[in-house]
């Protein structure tokens, strides 16, 4: 979407400044920079600060923020808004994310671009309400029913919350799909410096548009363009299995097969474009042990790798920035010379299983639950045990 004058004015007002922000707040500013037009949400710790800052700031940039009666309604409202051409988003945490699953499935099935921020907290259920966790990694992948694919990114600093919001909106428009910013409470509530870019350095991907309503859900394109409401095309949007023109056909096997495989494939085929990782490896072939982590866990993990290196141990490090689609190729390459990969994560071993599927070496989860992140010492100790 092109930034309109109101958004440009807002960015000009903030561009070039450095703010001291919570991860949640950085995410809110990032959304406005990304051209977000509409936010609908429901209060929940530790995600409420996203809504609070958006409520304060978005109207200044010409957008609208509302609080809905629950998370189901929030997710529904942003999908409705997206079909008018808006960039729309919501933000929540575990229990709310669970409630959104059905309408996330609707957004996937109707190929509706939108962004969901999940500031993960300790669960299941109410769990340790305010405490951070990374327990929704697989719910983000498989939370809604039926075969589907998803894009999810995991920031590990306030600055990255800001930066990745723009990636989220661009990916949502490029792949016509909901995109999840899979934060954790630790990153949501971390307070750090965030540099607000100048307007001249802000880049946006435009949503692809279709000319004929007959082909907005298929036809020749792997990722069809959209026609929005109010353009006189009698667009028909349904969560039921449908033909390229949006009309329901829930009985013909190949119609469902082709639709779902295409929705699956459009994200799979974009892997090279979507996957984001960061590596810090020692000279090739020297290391026998590697560490893979993401989000808040990646911070103490990196500290532990540094500490081990200071003691002469060659340890490789990889941080997953994109979680889904999984960086299978990059992780397989990373593992090539390794005997062992340690995976610190704030759950009982969710991404470690995914990593296991794509490497030949041994994978050991370094789990931590209880609402407190790993310490550098804890991970360092595991590394030292592994190398000895």
């Amino acid at each position: 979407m092109a930034l309109d004058d109101n958004k440009k004015r807002y960015i000009n007002h903030h561009g070039g400044k450095t703010y001291f922000l919570l991860g949640d707040e950085a995410c809110a500013y990032g959304a406005i920079y990304a051209g977000c037009d509409f936010f609908a949400g429901y209060p929940i710790t530790p995600a409420s600060e996203v809504a609070e800052l958006i409520a304060e700031e978005l109207p200044k940039a010409g957008g609208i923020c509302i609080q809905m009666e629950d998370e189901l309604a929030s997710m529904a409202a942003i999908v409705g808004a997206a079909w008018t051409g808006a960039r729309s988003m919501t933000a929540t945490s575990g229990p709310g994310f669970s409630l959104m699953q059905e309408n996330i499935g609707y957004a996937i099935m109707t190929e509706t671009p939108c962004v969901i921020v999940n500031v993960q907290r300790s669960g299941p259920s109410t769990g340790q309400a305010t405490k951070p966790a990374q327990g929704d990694m697989l719910q983000a992948r498989w939370g809604t029913h039926g075969d589907h694919n998803i894009i999810a990114l995991a920031p590990n600093s306030a600055q990255e919350c800001f930066d990745l919001m723009q990636d989220c909106f661009d990916l949502a428009d490029t792949y016509r799909t909901p995109v999840i910013l899979l934060m954790d409470g630790e990153i949501g509530h971390i307070r750090e410096s965030v540099v607000m870019p100048e307007l001249s350095s802000v880049r946006h991907t435009s949503r692809k548009r279709a000319e004929r309503a007959e082909e907005i859900f298929g036809g020749q394109e792997l990722i069809p363009g959209m026609i929005h409401y109010g353009e006189g095309s009698n667009v028909h949007v349904t969560g039921s299995t449908h033909l390229a023109n949006g009309m329901r056909d829930v009985t013909t096997p190949h119609v469902h097969d082709e639709l779902i495989r295409r929705i699956y494939k459009k994200i799979d085929s974009g892997r090279e474009d979507i996957v984001r990782i960061e590596t810090d490896t020692v000279a090739n072939g020297k290391s026998r042990v590697g560490v893979i982590s993401y989000g808040a866990s990646a911070r103490p993990a990196r500290g532990a790798v540094k500490a081990a290196r200071a003691e002469g141990k060659n340890i490789d490090f990889l941080r997953l920035i994109s979680i889904w689609p999984f960086a299978r190729k990059q992780v397989a390459e990373f593992s090539r010379d390794l005997d062992l990969i340690l995976v610190p994560e704030m759950n009982l071993g969710q991404m470690s299983r995914e990593i296991e599927r794509f490497v030949d070496c041994k994978v050991i989860a370094v789990p931590k639950i209880g609402g407190v992140p790993h310490t550098v010492d804890e991970i360092h100790q595991v590394i030292m045990e592994a190398v000895s």
């Binding site: 200044k60 009666e69 189901l72 409705g80 808004a81 008018t84 009698n234 667009v235």
Partner: protein
């Protein structure tokens, strides 16, 4: 010579006809009233978005009515419609869905939309049953009725949905039946014209999955009963609960002006934009 074309065919997706409503179903009557109402208002369907949920009556707009259409998850059409209306206040946004959808699983969205007074028209087709799934008890099913999930009789009293929506703060609320087609048509037009939350509870019939269990085998049986049960709201006022038992109170239950939600949201945004403009000395 080609067959004469019905004047309302421009308002339906002719290419997918014939429709799939059961014989005697009330949905066709509602579609008829709705297309007439839209035509009568001179509305261009290009300026409309129809939103529906899951259930038989959600098929009235999706796929049959020709306009931009959002056929949503079960119970959530009002919440989806909220997003559409906020971003495109210039479009007429109409929700047509059933009692199970709007007042059962989606009841929370209904009362909050009425409280906010968002400019939507919600036409709830109340057939007193979950028809599409085979005749299970609904929150609108009368007490004492046998359904597939109350085989020993329903012990719950039904919701009087229109009264609930009045209490929640809607601008315009009415109740009609599929027997009262002309007042229904006119009421739909008033609902669409009224800026604010408008709600019409349309008592309708499901001979297939409800009627056959209560001795009303055909659509006509239902219409006769609706005619007998109907009582004008003007007459009903002041009558006791006992006197109103088994009656359907029809007519306009409220029609008032209240600040409208979307206009208020846009007012705040305009104010905030202007404030920033001023702060920046009018710079772009």
């Amino acid at each position: 010579m080609s067959e004469p074309r019905h004047r309302l065919m421009d308002f339906v997706r002719e290419e997918i006809m014939p429709h799939r409503f059961c014989s005697g179903c009330g949905c066709g009557t509602v579609l008829n009233a709705f297309t007439n109402a839209v035509e009568g208002l001179g509305l261009d369907s290009a300026e409309m978005v129809c939103v529906s949920g899951i259930g038989c009556s959600s098929w009235i707009p999706s796929p049959y009515f020709r306009a931009d259409t959002l056929h949503t998850t079960h119970g959530r059409p009002i919440a989806f419609a909220t997003g559409v209306k906020i971003l495109r206040p210039d479009l007429t946004v109409v929700v047509i869905a059933g009692d199970g959808d709007v007042a059962g699983i989606g009841g929370n969205h209904l009362i909050h939309a009425a409280r906010r007074n968002i400019d939507l028209s919600v036409f709830m087709v109340n057939n007193m049953i979950y028809g599409m799934t085979g005749g299970q008890v609904a929150p609108t099913t009368p007490a004492g009725v046998v359904t597939t999930t109350t085989p020993h009789s329903n012990v719950e009293p039904p919701f009087r949905v229109a009264d609930l929506v009045v209490a929640a703060g809607a601008s315009y609320v009415a109740r009609w039946t599929t027997y009262h087609v002309f007042p229904l048509l006119e009421s739909m037009q008033n609902a669409i014209k009224r800026k604010g939350f408008s709600f019409i509870e349309i008592m309708s019939q499901c001979p297939e999955n409800y009627g056959r269990r209560i001795g009303l085998r055909t659509g006509i049986d239902f219409l006769k009963q609706f005619k007998e049960q109907a009582l004008r709201v003007e007459k009903a006022n002041g009558m006791s609960e006992e006197e109103l038992k088994d009656r359907i109170v029809i007519g306009k239950l409220c029609d008032k002006e209240r600040p409208e939600y979307v206009s208020e949201l846009h007012r705040i945004t305009r104010e905030q934009v202007d404030k920033l403009k001023k702060e920046m000395g009018g710079a772009a």
